[in-house]
Amino acid sequence: MDWKRFSFIFLIIVVLFGVVVAIGQVKSSPIVIITSMLATTIAFATPLTLGALAGVFCERSGVTNIGIEGMMLSSAFFGWLAAIYMYHVFEFPVGISITVGALFAVLFGMLMGLLLAVLSITYKVDQIIGGTVINILAVGLTGFLNRQLFFGKGSVFEGSVPNSPGVLPAIHVPITEIFSPVCNAATDCLQVLASINKVFDQKPIAISAILLVFIAHYVLFYTRWGLRTRAVGEHPKAADTVGINVIRMRYANVMIGGALAGLAGAYFTIESVPSFEPLLTNGRGFISLAAMIFGNWTPIGSWTAALVFGASQALNINMQLFRDVIPPQLAFLQQSYVVGLVPYILTMIILTGIIGRTTPPAADGIPYEK
């Protein structure tokens, strides 16, 4: 990440936060707004971060993955389905059911990764078409099963969608407890502490997404595996000559990518809300790709870009919260359709490269032939 893109990200985040603070200040104090924006930004950035990491692993090894959207969508569905089956049919307790649901989502993502690998590495299908096949398959499969399994003839659920066992709970970080003596029981100070605490009380997938950013950074740039992955994505022939198995490296990395996209899918139905609806990913797989491109195919760069998109979604939510105090000359901010456009327009601006052009791995998208 060069300074230009870093400062662009910083600027956008400051602007997005600034707008919310400026409008919401009649209702609550800036520190409360900023911390709550931060908390939602991190939560919303989770699937984008994981999706971008999925893209980084696939593309660093030389496979373009446009199917992240479909991988997320199908994993979200199958993870949710697994949780429901565990809870309602096999009658496991809630905690086990949703954990199995999350694991199942990751596993299914991996399976979709395998499909992409078979198509693009073994059968050398045009990789963008291969990804599109996955996207279309995911829409068809989830739409069909969503109806067939709950409303079809002989369904165990007999025509109603059962309640999902629930969502993953937030993990409490005892900041308030540790620092409260500093406050000397002053109410203001305690309130600030409580709102700061909210930023750190994230749910498991959100936390693992951030950990995975740094793990991925370490793996890609400081391990033999990472060096080989990058070699295969930059110059497969040279890698092959020194004895690296190009095909195997690509398969492994695309499946790792699939697993990450699967975890992103789990975010939607296991961590965020306990329900599934068709097309729920809403383009976030593609936004992840834009984050990856803007982050120059690096984990940390992609993560900061994902935070920008998270912040622009947090803006939309907060504008709805502060609906009644939006001044009339800014009435357009009340329309969630209008504010909802921000991430999409940002994506397009980023892709123009006016904030610094990035370079994909040299062999990205090219099937390897000996």
């Binding site: 990789q127 599109t132 279309i136 068809g140 109806r147 359709y337 397009m348 490269g353 994909p360």
Partner: protein
């Protein structure tokens, strides 16, 4: 990705060439149908009854045929839109947004223009104008992506999808707000009905098939002619096959990219305009969902050839249309069709699998379809 090397093969008769071209798609359809049958059996349905329902519902009666043509009309236009972009080396995933925008603008001209002018507009002016505005809306929408691709290198795949979401959000806003049907009984996000003078006449009384279908066939022929018999078509194909070679041959690559996207968006916009003027006489939110992906499948199945696109459109239309009958006979959800279409696309895209199953030798030709982030 390399260019074809078929030039040293012996010349083939037209019939042989045609058979060769449709062999893989036909086998892909066959394989998908067999696999789909297995899926139907697994979920507890009767595959034979399901397929019988599909065929009956799509070709079984005059009414069924008319409905198949109704479904096929937007498919042909949207499929041609994607196919034309493929020929120019561009992947237009945004047909859905372009189509929706075309429909909205034609609806606007259809219902509001007489009010704005305060006079009745004669049919001979109002109808063509309504269609042209819809086409233009789709064209402008897609040209933005073409411009970004040509001058900044922003990849069209992500940009067309972003433009889809922007279009759909904007349309949600319009149909829930300024353009909403003011009829007090109406709770749906839709426009008012368009004026009589903007509606296409019926072909046969009592059937919904409209002139749009005939127009679709004519436009398919026109696109074939454009691609194969004109300088512009040659330029589009050259840029698609090899932009560097095109540049050295004196083709203005940037301009050609923009023109290709513009034409592609125009076709998608026309699909929307004809749905409004020929069929629904208004635009309703959510009507356009799914056309973008279906159009990609159709273009790939039809191998980006206009005739192939027409045939693939009729197949997809038949499946969509017959699905209701299938659901009636077997209680299988209509969404099964999407799975079947995804399987067809899978096998068409991965023709190596089909070649492997049916032991067909590859002739070593590779057609360039899309390009990575750098191109």
């Amino acid at each position: 990705m390399q260019v074809d090397t078929t030039s040293n093969l012996p010349p083939k008769s037209f019939l042989n060439a045609a058979l060769d071209a449709i062999r893989i798609p036909l086998l892909a359809i066959l394989t998908a149908v067999v696999l789909g049958g297995i899926i139907i059996a697994i979920v507890g349905g009767n595959p034979f009854l399901a397929y019988a329902g599909l065929i009956q519902g799509s070709f079984g009666s005059a009414k069924a045929l008319s409905e198949t043509a109704v479904w096929a009309t937007p498919y042909i236009f949207a499929g041609l839109a994607v196919a034309l972009a493929f020929k120019g080396g561009l992947f237009n995933i945004g047909a859905e947004g372009q189509l929706a925008l075309g429909a909205v603008f034609s609806a606007l001209i259809g219902y509001a223009l007489p009010e704005w002018l305060g006079v009745d507009i004669p049919f001979i002016i109002h109808l063509p104008l309504t269609i042209i505005i819809g086409m233009t809306a789709g064209m402008i929408w897609a040209s933005i992506v073409g411009f970004l691709k040509a001058y900044t290198g922003g990849h069209e795949v992500i940009n067309t999808i972003m433009m889809n979401y922007i279009a759909l959000n904007t349309i949600s806003f319009l149909l829930n707000g300024p353009m909403k049907d003011r009829n007090p009984d109406n709770v749906i996000a839709r426009t008012p009905l368009i004026a009589e003078s903007a509606r296409m006449p019926e072909i046969f009384e009592g059937f919904r098939i409209h002139w749009g279908f005939i127009l679709a066939l004519l436009v398919a022929f026109f696109i074939w002619w454009l691609l194969n018999k004109t300088t512009l078509g040659f330029e589009i194909r050259t840029v698609g096959a090899n932009p560097d070679a095109a540049k050295y041959a004196g083709v203005n690559v940037k301009r050609t990219i923009i023109v290709t996207m513009a034409l592609s968006g125009m076709l998608a916009g026309m699909a929307g305009a004809l749905e409004v003027t020929g069929l629904n006489f208004r635009h309703e939110l959510g009507f356009s969902i799914g056309y973008g992906f279906d159009a990609i499948a159709i273009a790939l199945l039809g191998k980006s050839h206009p005739l192939g696109v027409v045939l693939a459109s009729i197949l997809f239309a038949a499946m969509r249309n017959g699905a209701t009958r299938m659901q009636f006979l077997t209680q299988l959800p209509v969404d099964l069709i999407s799975v079947l279409q995804a399987l067809i696309l899978l096998f068409v895209a991965a023709d190596a699998i089909i070649r492997y199953i049916y032991r067909i030798k590859s002739k070593g030709e590779r057609v360039v379809l899309t390009r990575g982030w750098g191109g």
